[in-house]
Amino acid sequence: MKKQAKRMFDPSTIPDDLCPIATEFFDMQVGDWRAKRPVVIRTKCTKCGTCWAYCPTQCVVERDTWFEADLKLCKGCGICAQECPRHAIIMVDEEDS
């Protein structure tokens, strides 16, 4: 490993057109892709956790008496609204909200 590190940091031995690598991390907000957002009707929510279990991006977060999606990560797929046994989640167009 020492040998590799030494070679890698000697730029004269490594062409820079070999293949792409990324050394900086960018925090991509997948929530920006969303067309519809889930809105939780708190009076209906019994905090059963079905939405939390079904969310494919695992973005459902726990509040005091309800669950809701972290909108930075929610892509708006609507699975939570489909699966909620209390029909406590509705999908609202982003353009209208």
Partner: protein
């Protein structure tokens, strides 16, 4: 000291691998490569070869784990054939773009359908545009020697591309010949220190993502993408000279020499020639000798390196002839001709000599290309082209067998 053994091409390949001392091998058995995989596993089990052997569930994974190993600095090897190569295609197509010096033998086999398990070069020829270097061996000895040389070519810092050493299924894979094993210490000296694409190699002190999204219409995406593509083409063109240098160095060190790109046989005073590839060449040379005895001024060109295609070497070797009969063991469906034939037509446009070229297709699915019947016909038809006949139709040599 080296010694001489008697073995088939698959075992010769395994000995070549053993002498190159890879760190990791992954193979999935497929006819006609299977006994190559068996010899490698036997060498590892007996301790002759000290390499990690990955037991994986298919060829896609074979090449994927070797990409990881190569990125960690390992020297790697695999081998496959036909449908296995087809299943491997997704990582196959990515390996040269990642500039990973992996060596893989293709024990060439015809393509399905119709169902076939016999030799032909349809598999290797079909994937030749994916960016791997491809060298085709004529004998079992050349298989062994070329696998060793392949690592020097692949790991050359100005090449850094994967290499296929192609050996004809059945004819070489199961054909038995005397094979000299070079002295292991000489091979070590020849191969030098193992090397990989250090730009992307695993280093805990420098965390990175390999192969991030590149291109698109965003800032610098287009120019970055072009830079990588051009770098890859530069490595490929550089390989032509490196392949020649490596063959010369191997000859000086180990004592066996091969034409690295295109071999010329009895071409000095030839008026026309035939072109061969791989194991058919021996029969081709015999046929040329017989025709010479009958006064025909025929020579032979054998192509070893197909990728990168040796355009200049080809143009130099045809300056004295007027006709060339190209014998392929594969079918280029899009051109209704052989693959090698099409390469020759393309290369001629870069030179000043245009010869009358004829496409012959033979040896499909294990069929034989014999001296008396098939090569005699190749020479006769090519001679007719030399005399001025226009032969436009592709000739299928085994059509009546």
């Amino acid at each position: 000291m080296g010694k001489t053994i008697v073995c088939d091409g698959n075992e010769a390949a395994a000995w070549g691998v053993s002498l190159a001392k890879p760190d990791m091998i992954a193979v999935y058995p497929i006819t006609p490569q299977s006994s190559l995989a068996e010899h490698l596993t036997e060498f590892i089990a007996s301790g002759r070869l000290s390499a990690d052997l990955m037991d994986v569930e298919g060829e896609h994974t074979v090449l994927s784990v070797l990409q990881g190993a190569c990125l960690a600095g390992a020297r790697t090897f695999t081998a496959t054939s036909a449908q296995g190569l087809a299943f491997m295609f997704e990582p196959y197509y990515r390996t040269p773009n990642l500039r990973l010096p992996i060596v893989m033998a293709i024990v060439t086999r015809d393509g399905i359908s119709p169902q076939t398990v016999w030799g032909g070069q349809q598999d290797a020829m079909t994937v030749k545009e994916a960016g791997w270097i491809q060298m085709y061996a004529e004998s079992n000895q050349e298989v062994l020697d070329s696998i060793i040389m392949a690592y020097r070519v692949a790991e050359h810092p100005e090449v850094l591309l994967p290499v296929n050493v192609c050996l004809d299924g059945n004819f070489l894979s199961y054909g038995i010949e005397a094979v000299s094993l070079p002295d292991s210490r000489l091979v070590d000296e020849f191969l030098r220190e193992k090397s990989t694409n250090w730009h992307a190699a695993l280093d805990p002190e420098r965390p990175m993502a390999v192969d991030p999204l590149t291109g698109g219409g965003s800032a610098q995406g287009a120019s970055m993408f072009v830079r990588y593509r051009k770098g890859q083409c530069k490595g490929m063109q550089k390989a032509l000279g490196v392949i020649e240098d490596v063959h010369a160095e191997y000859a000086a060190k180990i004592g066996r020499s091969y034409a690295p790109l295109i071999e010329s046989y009895r071409m000095e005073d030839a008026n026309f020639a035939i072109m061969t590839i791989g194991s058919m060449t021996g029969a081709g040379k015999d046929a040329v000798d017989m025709a010479r005895n009958q006064g025909k001024m025929v020579g032979l060109l054998k192509v070893k390196t197909v990728r990168p295609f040796p355009v200049d070497a080809l143009c130099r070797s045809i300056t004295r002839i007027k006709a060339l009969g190209v014998v392929d063991r594969s079918v280029n469906y899009g051109w209704n001709a052989g693959f090698l034939y099409q390469e020759v037509l393309g290369a001629m446009y870069h030179g000043t000599t245009r010869v009358s070229a004829v496409s012959f297709i033979g040896g499909l699915s294990g069929s034989d290309i014999t001296v008396e019947k098939h090569f005699r016909r190749v020479i006769d038809v090519t001679e007719r082209a030399y005399r001025g006949d226009v032969v436009k139709e592709t000739i299928w040599l085994n059509e009546d067998d």
